[in-house]
Subunit: 248 residues, 2 copies
DNA sequence: CTGCATCGTTGATCTGCGTCAAGCCTGTAT
DNA sequence: ATACAGGCTTGACGCAGATCAACGATGCAG
């Protein structure tokens, strides 16, 4: 969206301050940094534009880089030797890539669409964290949220039916849209059915069938292959298993 | 194991230093703290002994406490309204409980066996983190590892077969035993089959059947209901899907 | 030792989702 | 426009694991 503008800014030599122009800044961990912190962060960062399908991180490679996604979308996944794939998350503008990382990447990350990211050397970033405790706190908060999301996904993958999985997925996207200031009614699906399937532990066929069922029931309406409207949010939430939350 | 000793130490008024006697210390985040840090930590902590089945945390309650497990075992789980349960993790001595927490607990935690924990007020702990950046770094590292483990579990729940799930589970327990200094051959299972099932996204019957199959194949040998010996570690690892790791 | 409750195992049957297969839709290149 | 490729949908069928059911093991209370 604002990718070209950023690229131009970064290409200029007398850049005023890339971070202050960054559209993702208020969504990202960087927003806890003051003027000098941003300058310092900027000095250790690289701007990277990527095209659809481009690989940012490959499972098993030495974990040298960390990323802050500034635009576009990314899929993060793990593979079994025979090719079975589990997508562990989709990242969007403002998301941090590289939290769950030891010496080597335990996941791969590929661009879903064109986009851009700030890239850091892990070493420099760690040094930065020592100097900027606020940033470390912000990262810890992120990690907590991601861990919570991972737990929810474990519940989904371990115990929910196909309908519940898709409903949960759509409800999550709606919630994300609301957090970004939208109404949570029109949902964009920048990923393919195969990717949704690999995220939900299903097959493309099942995702397709369940989508049709929700459509027939009038819960959703397809606007195009990659966007839909939620017609009955309450029913969707119920299907997702969000009514009571806990039996208590 | 050392529960009674600790209880006696904590009951004494002129305690020399509970932390320095804590058997879980070298396994826990506290090990990054110096003398004064430990004293400070101790001053904001409560010791809590618990019996089997005791509830430490209930999903949906205000998240006021954080815990450091010092002995025993704990199951952490989430429920669907109709009672379906997903265990998101088992915690043992040295593990931290409460990382993935917002204002309210998003999970429940119950003692699997008798044991003990250091309990902190979340508020005091957060203050402590500001004063002790090393502790915050250690927590961030923990969170990273947990997130990685969660991703592995997502792969397991979303894409592995029943045999692969159980094999992965046993291989994980073996790895944990090795990390704790054991040989990784004799595995303790302090949980029931139902709990293993709810952790692996299966039913008790399937866990039982698959266990039998592994036994018949000679991969494992049951020593009792709650302990077994790994007879063919290599075969177990292969069944778990750990041979190649990534298809690259 | 006896009784009882809980947990675990094994078998028979069922079913939700995967697999296989065919056809359709969408976008892009010529 | 036309053709092609990749993605999506729908149908028929099969199977891994769930469900239902019965029985055996374990451990605790009296």
């Amino acid at each position: 969206m604002s990718g070209t503008t950023e690229a131009i800014v970064c290409a200029r030599d007398s850049r005023p301050d890339p971070c202050s122009l960054c559209a993702a800044r208020h969504l990202s961990v960087c927003n806890v940094l003051a003027e000098d912190g941003l300058r310092r962060l900027n000095s250790i960062s690289d701007h990277q534009d990527f095209g659809a399908g481009e690989i940012l991180v490959r499972e098993g490679d030495p974990a040298t880089n960390l990323f802050n996604i500034t635009s576009g979308a990314v899929r993060v996944y793990k593979l079994l030797p025979d090719g079975r794939r589990q997508i562990v998350g989709f990242l969007f503008s403002g998301d941090f890539l590289g939290l769950a990382t030891g010496d080597r990447y335990a996941f791969s990350a590929e661009a879903l669409s064109t986009g851009s990211a700030c890239r850091f050397q892990k070493k420099s970033y760690r040094k930065m964290l020592v100097e900027q405790p606020d940033l470390e706190t912000a990262l810890l908060d992120r990690a907590s949220h991601e861990l919570q999301a991972a737990h929810n996904q474990m519940l989904l993958l371990g115990r929910k039916t196909a309908v519940e999985r898709l409903a949960s997925f759509l409800a999550d996207l709606a919630a994300r849209d609301r957090r970004a200031g939208g109404a949570g009614r029109i949902i964009q699906l920048p990923m393919t059915r195969a990717e949704i399937a690999d995220y939900l532990g299903l097959t493309t066929e099942t995702v397709s069938r369940v989508t049709s069922r929700l459509k027939t029931r009038g819960v959703i309406r397809l606007l195009s292959l990659h966007s839909l409207s939620i017609e009955k949010p309450a029913e969707l939430a119920e299907l997702a298993g969000l009514d009571a939350g806990d039996g208590a």
